[in-house]
Symmetry: C2
Subunit: 597 residues, 2 copies
């Protein structure tokens, strides 16, 4: 209630921390933290995305980084607040190379969580607001080139007579968001997209698809959706938005372009990427290579005995064309996660006889419940009305250490179970195998740990519950000419089999493009090391290999949902810009590789 | 300094005004105003754009409108402020049909200026923010159409099997801004654009062109430029933005489409417009027709003796292709306003021998000075930092009655003269005929009164001053095979003559499209009736025929710079929406026609 007490508390703490940091006293700084404590750094001190857990880890990080990073001028920004014995506040700070924004939480013992994020590089600030360009310079200059001529020249030269600094493979939301940030930072970049138009990766999916995340969570950098944008954008509308966005942001976006191979040229210190652009070969030689082909890797096609004998159409969900061609046929969809539910519902809507084949338990959460309980405080109309803009929301989100998340998510998950008890009961009565995550913490942790194993219900669950979508559970024994046969002997007649069986790790792309050796050196992408299904330990504290340096120099992985593409592209772009400008970027705590994929 | 005193004052005033209005007591309401007083109404009470000047005019308007409009719930919004003896504040209010926003200024005597603006129609609010659509509805519906299918259906049907409510002729910024607002209001609209792509009306202009107004003044509705947008956008960048904007806003934007003729079908109560769309005839039958072909009308080609004998290339500035084809030629540009300066400078930059032929005096103001003195308080990075968003700036701008403008502009103009005295001296020394408007009030009033007679200097004036662009002043006697001959006998050899001789009134488009009779009934467009050159009296108090009902039912004129296209499209869109929904829209004080063009 009283804004002065927490503000005084946080101000005093920041002054002490600032003193310790300026005195290069790692132990004194670490001693200001509580017994249970976390310092999450996004590229500000560590040139890495890293969470230090506990005083010792914090002291070790500071010993390694204080000398070069020299963080200073920690200054409270706005008033601090207090709730449940925890004071929290925002602060700004500087390092040797940049300016940052931070957030901290204090409990009775000291600092509980600290977030430090790099916001801009000194001398390489984005030209925005008061620093925006003038546009065409007034005054007259004989023979000067117009904007259109300069743009045309850049399009003609970049990748041919002049090499880009960065090549991004994959022109979905990840590549586009990163490309926009690099454009604002003045880093010459080419984005390679295999489709004909930006946005096609959405347009080409099944026709009823809409975003499962709400609009407030989905903005791209710099150009928020207008305020009439629907809560759940249909795929084609999002595709069109992405296409306009690439134009407005003036990205060098090469459509109908695929990277055939890439290798690191050690002598030249650059990648050599063989590209086919609209049917013609082009060799690109960037310093940095970013794989932004989605948070998922190569489609997983299951190996099922007898598959090759199947006479009908069998395809992976990523190649599913939508329901229109399947009227009058019997379709079996293997899998029970998001894609399977969406595909089954669209088939049912089109009047197709469809069976969902569930092999293992799935977490289901109703979209409305998720929006309200999990996202509402940060990403909603109410949050906007409370002055929480998307950048602030992203930083609050980022301020919660992954280690702490299960304890925060568990009560939300419990509340979800209670609120939708009847819904879950109906699903179980229909034979659906439900779970709520290994530790009953729900969707978001499943997403972070394995990126799969759930469905955000936007309607299909009712069809499963009432039998409109037929449900079969259990293990598959084999596939015959015209059926899927279960271990219990049941035979499911099928004209079409859709394998909604997920994707491998993103480093599979590196194997395809570069080499298995490089993919293995990078190791598994995504996941936290939570020691839960499909996310083996040891604990990593951050998503593996995402948006940060990997064991392979100059190779980066970028992906995730729209929120992550927006937020983490900022930090990946700053890392790339620093390297392009030749700044020292000593990486602290480069993650070890424990799993190859 | 003290925020409480003015807030109390304004609150008390609003309560009294509210009481008088609710009591339907026009005289009591008018008596609350100062001797010199203005009530400017944008569609809230009058269904017109109208300024009432003086207590009598206010009382008369209220007598006519109170019964139907029933304004009420006038409520101060935020704190009032005080400066120089004038208290001012914002307020909200309601009418029978809508909700509004207003602004008022009180002096010692009573209310000096009052602005009332209609912001939304009850029951027909824009679906934005908390009222935004859900997007694709969750749940399942057999046979439902996807977003892409629904969009495709609309594109296929509108104008063919289903008629639009509104047709807008002209797809520049005016038509686009209005189209976006009508789309949000759910009014089926088709925009006709003669060019191949949205934005071509900018792209096709001479290559060095950039906006002369700064970015903060230029936003379109709903989707502001991102904050790296240049201060003065180059024409092609603006063209590309407009093109993306039409797509993002999902406008029914017909390119390569021209209206051949239009007539009002009295029996059917609709326009019959013969259109050629991509070479094929289409007949459109909308209820409302908007001419948005620019604030200027048909190009003025001067009639000069001997013109027909000229052997070279003679063309109007609107058809000038830019300098590239004119190397090695002698070019004479007739006229000395914006277009002439821009064209001359681009020709000089390209190394062409160019002469500007000035026939009458011109107002020149340096862009930087204009930005700082005239726009800085409302449209600048500082204004943004002070929390003045573009909507607020537009309303403050709108709150100043045209009658009061000269007294406000005069000191700015005087300051301009002082600040740039050396610049003006150099121009006069070169023989340039300068003016600062009939009453020395500068650019903005010239713009409002006649839309011409000035140049916003972005560099060409230096070329005139130093003789790089040759300057000749005086009257033309005749044109020969290869020269322009002045009244004083001087001969200006010419291979090319560009007539930068301006445009007629917008109702000229109605003459071309509909009939001279209709054009004459509409009368002259633009101008205030200031009794200054090219703006004959009597005093009108508002721009003639712009964005408001004309003497010809269901025919509307929309145009102006980006600022006006943005701001006034709001009120035109609300007028059109109200008619589309069949609401009563009794127009008060429809302007009389005093001049036919």
């Amino acid at each position: 209630m009283d804004a002065i007490a927490p503000t005084g508390k946080v101000t005093t703490f920041l002054a002490k921390l600032n003193d310790a940091l300026e005195a290069q006293d790692a132990d004194a700084a670490a001693a200001l933290f509580a017994t249970e404590c976390y310092w999450r750094d996004l590229v500000a001190l560590t040139w890495n995305i890293k969470t230090m857990e506990g005083r010792d880890a914090i002291a070790e990080m500071l010993r390694a980084t204080l000398g070069s990073a020299r963080p200073r001028h920690l200054t409270l920004d706005g008033d601090a607040t207090e709730a449940g014995g925890v004071s929290e506040g925002w602060f700004t700070f500087e390092t040797e190379t940049g300016r940052g924004r931070g957030h901290l939480r204090l409990n009775g013992e000291g600092c509980w969580t600290l977030l430090t994020t790099l916001q801009e590089l000194k001398g390489f600030e984005e030209p925005k607001g008061p620093a925006r360009p003038r546009g065409v310079e007034h005054g007259v200059q004989p023979g000067r080139k117009s904007y259109a001529e300069r743009m045309e020249e850049e399009r003609r030269e970049l990748g041919y007579s002049r090499q880009p600094e960065v090549v991004i493979i994959g022109g979905g939301q990840g590549g586009i968001a990163l490309g926009a940030r690099l454009r604002r930072l003045g880093v010459p970049t080419i984005i390679l997209e295999k489709n004909e138009r930006a946005g096609d990766s959405w347009r080409k999916r099944y026709k009823s698809l809409c975003l499962h995340d709400p609009v407030w969570y989905d903005h791209l950098p710099y150009l928020p959706f207008p305020d009439h944008w629907p809560v759940f954008a249909p795929k084609d509308k999002l595709g069109d938005w992405l296409e306009s966005y690439t134009k407005i942001m003036e990205l060098n976006y090469w459509t109908r372009s695929t990277a055939q191979s890439a290798r690191w040229d050690e002598a030249a210190g650059e990648w050599v990427i063989e590209v086919e652009r609209e049917g013609r070969p082009v060799t690109l030689r960037p310093k940095q290579l970013v794989l932004a082909t989605g948070m998922s890797g190569v489609p997983n096609m299951p190996k099922i005995p007898g598959m090759e004998s199947f006479k009908g159409d069998i395809h992976h969900s990523s190649r599913h064309p939508g329901p229109d061609g399947f009227k009058g046929k019997k379709v079996v969809v293997i899998g029970s996660n998001n894609s399977s539910h969406d595909i089954c519902a669209a088939l049912w809507e089109a009047g197709v006889d469809v069976t969902m084949l569930q092999r293992s338990s799935t977490h289901i959460v109703k979209s409305d419940t998720l929006m309200e309980l999990a996202l509402g405080a940060l990403y909603s109309e109410e949050a906007v009305a409370n002055g929480i803009d998307v950048n602030t929301a992203d930083l609050i989100f980022a301020s919660i250490p992954y280690k702490v998340l299960p304890a925060i998510q568990k009560p939300q998950c419990d509340e979800t179970k209670k609120r939708d008890a009847d819904f879950y009961r109906r699903l179980e009565n229909a034979g659906f195998m439900l779970d709520f995550g290994a530790d009953e913490t729900g969707l978001f942790l499943k997403y972070l740990r394995r990126g799969s194993g759930y469905y955000i219900d936007v309607g299909a669950s009712d069809l499963v519950a009432n039998g409109s979508i037929k449900l079969r559970t259990g293990e598959i024994d084999r596939i015959t000419e015209n059926a899927v046969v279960m271990k219990d002997g049941t035979e499911l007649p099928a004209d079409v089999i859709v394998c909604a069986t997920g994707y491998g790790s993103m480093n599979g792309w590196a194997a395809q493009l570069i080499s298995q050796e490089v993919a293995d050196r990078v190791g598994k992408c995504w996941g936290l090391g939570s020691d839960t299904p499909k996310d083996p330990g040891p604990w990593e504290g951050e998503l593996r290999n995402m948006w940060k340096p990997t064991q392979v120099d100059n190779l980066w992985f970028h992906g995730g949902n729209l929120h992550q593409s927006r937020h983490y592209s900022q930090f990946l772009a700053l890392q790339l810009k620093a390297r392009a400008e030749g700044l020292a970027t000593p990486v602290y705590g480069l993650a070890q590789v424990h799993h190859t994929g």
